[in-house]
Amino acid sequence: MLSRAIRRSFASPLRRNAFVPAGRPAFRMVTTDAASSHADKEAVPKEDDKPFEVRLSDESFETYELDPPPYTLSTTKAELKQMYYDMVAVRRMEMAADRLYKEKKIRGFCHLSTGQEAVAVGIEHAIEKTDHLITAYRCHGFALMRGGTVKSIIGELLGRRGGIAYGKGGSMHMFAPGFYGGNGIVGAQVPVGAGIAFAMKYNQKDAVTLALYGDGASNQGQVFEAFNMAKLWNLPVVFGCENNKYGMGTAASRSSALTDYYKRGQYIPGLKINGMDVLAVKAAVQYGKEWCREGKGPLVYEYVTYRYGGHSMSDPGTTYRTREEIQRMRSTNDPIAGLKQKLLDWGVVSEEELKAIDKEARSNVDAEVAEAEEMPIPDPTGKVLFEDIYVRGSEPEFMRGRIPEENFYYTEADMGNEQTPIART
């Protein structure tokens, strides 16, 4: 039993298909090939902003009680280039975080999304700024895509006052317009996402909420509580399991009785998506947004992806999987390399142009990271330590320090007024 599970998790998709017993209809497996989409070179227009059709691979989706999204996606050269830029920027930022952590400048917890860029970027290109997104702790890419700056994100990791959350949250706590974080407790953001979706519906706003969680969190009880409420009240929410195949250091097949996370909604239609192909992600999320807009209720998505690094910085990520497996994913399924190859194949950009985009993304990120490093550390004052526990101006008389002399008296500091929440759109 155990050995079968292990073998299965390492078996290639093709091989698994070969074992489908005769008599049962052969079902397609979702590929994680990042370069599986297709466009005719002749059909690609000269103009940057003229739409053209891209055909997604037949293996982009698997469905559960749902008709698949269209396998053609309308895009433009400008959009493809932007997607490429975004993915390179996210990765560059994560690499910078990796370096700063190893230099001991970033302390504490830090979860990188290297390898999973296509999910954050694909989703952002499918939704509007008025839509809402809430995710777990692997959130840097989402924070950047939703409108955070590299400087404010790296500043946050460094614990600087100029960080996106005043340097108080660090890796897991980032907010932006339409972005509700960045949540450190496994699975806790999922019912919160259902609540946000409810508020959207109640206020008759035409917006969708995406509530993301990992394959590890998918076994949390509250995820199922959220599914139930969302279906019961027909909420416009797309639950999304980012299946990177390992919940911390445990392979999905060793933690989950059903690893088809898109079927976990049971009474909610589901879709499994090639999360390494940014175009497939965009097509799926566009479809989900439209589905919710039509009042059809929630969906459960599964983005099949892969994280190259460990769960967090303290995890080398090689004790529970082989280096060969990581190497194989990196060299054959990388989302950035995949899109790059397509852009060149389809003649969207020349090699020189692509290099220029690469360079631009890297130098922009590097410049902002350098700025973030220069940002001052927070003032060592009680005001900074004790602000925002309660509504500014309505705090209790004081909060305790370690000794009575350190007690912070709110009356003795100008705490200012309540801030406007930027995530509400």
């Binding site: 959350a165 974080g181 806790a188 919160v192 139930n228 309660y390 309505s394 209790p396 929440p421």
Partner: protein, 402 residues
């Protein structure tokens, strides 16, 4: 959770007997008292809710409350019990603010304790609705709605059921504002209501008072009202404030506490304790149901020992009003803290520690705590576990004679 259904039925059957209509709640005199007196007991008689000085038995005394705004004090009052006061506060909030939502388990038909009676019918099931029996999910849902600007009032059917939602309350609700920094995201519109405390025969899972657990969490406000007037004003303030509030309603008072309550809406402060009775020899600090016990003890002690005791209702358990308490203790030199939940790391510990820290040189006796015993509330042992009149009376005697 499996035990939930039968116990709820049993409890509601008990609490709903006799079947009183909204306006005949004064029939409570015929109701069986939750504290039944031991035969021949001198002090531990039944709690006299219809004569206690803690409730406003006349319109005049209700309107004399200086915390009420001037226009409310010129208005009318109505004799109602605590659940009706909660109902009126919710009704007012729903009427005046579109963003207010009321939801929880079984609240659509009025809830186990009838606090949400007729709200679904009057405001529609879009705003007042039942949730599945999933505390963690429903609190998470409420936090999400609040972070998007709604003002949800979520009900946990009994405080004993709040524990699955503890993570959501402590890790999400309480920290939301702090961890969002520059971006200002918060779930301040959130109020989580829950019936708390003993009720006569609630046993293990319908008797707990977990306020100390929430009082350990900066970012939350924890409120426990003692009477219908307080419940209405404090609940409206809880809904209005932009901090998440845990609002715990002593369930035994839902029907037992009946008083004249202003008809108009009003807000009571969430950061002020209230001195219910002034005195000069000893300060008794309490909140919720035990205040009635304290009041009876004080009456007996004053008669027997010729002392004079000051009684303070904390009202907000966290953040709490240290100033009022310290001012009183500095005057009297003695203090007793009384609460239903157990002593270990309870609210009494916090209050006592603060007193010795800030009023040490004024103290004539150690601060005494009269609390529930550190055990579980066995069905038949309830009245032995919670502080009764004799224990508070004894504490007054010991403190004064120290």
């Amino acid at each position: 959770m499996a035990a939930k259904t039968p116990s709820i039925r049993a409890l509601s059957r008990y609490l709903l007997r006799p079947q009183t209509s909204l306006h005949s709640c004064c029939q409570h005199r015929t109701q069986r008292k939750p504290y039944s007196a031991a035969a021949g007991a001198r002090l531990n008689g039944t709690v006299e809710y219809d004569t206690t000085s803690l409730l406003h038995h006349t319109s005049r005394s209700a309107l004399a409350n200086p915390e009420l705004p001037a226009d409310v004090r010129k208005g009318q009052t109505k004799r109602i019990n605590l659940y009706t006061a909660v109902n009126e506060a919710l009704r007012h909030a729903l009427q005046t603010d579109e963003r207010v939502l009321v939801f929880g388990e079984d609240i659509q038909f009025g809830g186990v304790f009838r606090c949400t009676m007729n709200l679904a019918a009057d405001f529609g099931t879009e705003r007042v609705f039942n949730t599945p029996l999933s505390e963690q999910g429903l609190v998470g849902f409420a936090i999400g709605a609040a972070s998007e600007g709604m003002r949800p009032v979520a009900e946990i059917q009994f405080a004993d059921y709040v524990f699955p939602a503890f993570d959501q309350i402590v890790n999400e609700a309480a920290k939301y504002r702090y961890r969002s920094g520059t971006t200002g995201v918060h779930c301040g519109g959130l109020v989580i209501r829950m019936p708390t405390g003993v009720v006569g025969h609630g046993a293990l899972y319908h008797s707990q008072s977990p306020e100390a657990l929430f009082a350990h969490t900066p970012g939350l406000r924890v409120v426990i009202p003692r009477s219908p007037t307080q419940a209405k004003g404090l609940l409206l303030s809880a809904i209005r404030t932009n901090d998440p509030v845990i609002f715990m309603e002593p369930k035994v008072l839902y029907r037992a506490a009946v008083e004249q309550v202003p008809v108009d809406a009003y807000h009571l402060p969430l950061d002020k304790a209230e001195v219910l009775k002034t005195g000069k020899d000893v300060t008794i600090v309490s909140y919720g149901t035990p205040l009635y016990t304290c009041s009876a003890s004080i009456e007996a002690a004053e008669k027997d020992f010729g002392c004079s005791a000051e009684l303070i209702d904390l009202r907000t358990i966290y953040p709490w009003d240290r100033e009022t308490v310290l001012k009183s203790v500095k005057k009297t030199g003695r203090a007793i803290v009384v609460h239903e939940s157990m002593m270990n790391a309870g609210v009494g510990a916090e209050v006592a520690a603060t007193i010795q820290e800030r009023a040490f040189l004024r103290l004539e006796a150690p601060v005494k705590r009269v609390t529930g015993w550190a055990t579980h509330t066995g069905l038949i042992f309830e009245k032995f576990i919670i502080p009764d009149v004799t224990r508070v009376y004894d504490a007054i005697k010991k403190t004064i004679d120290y």
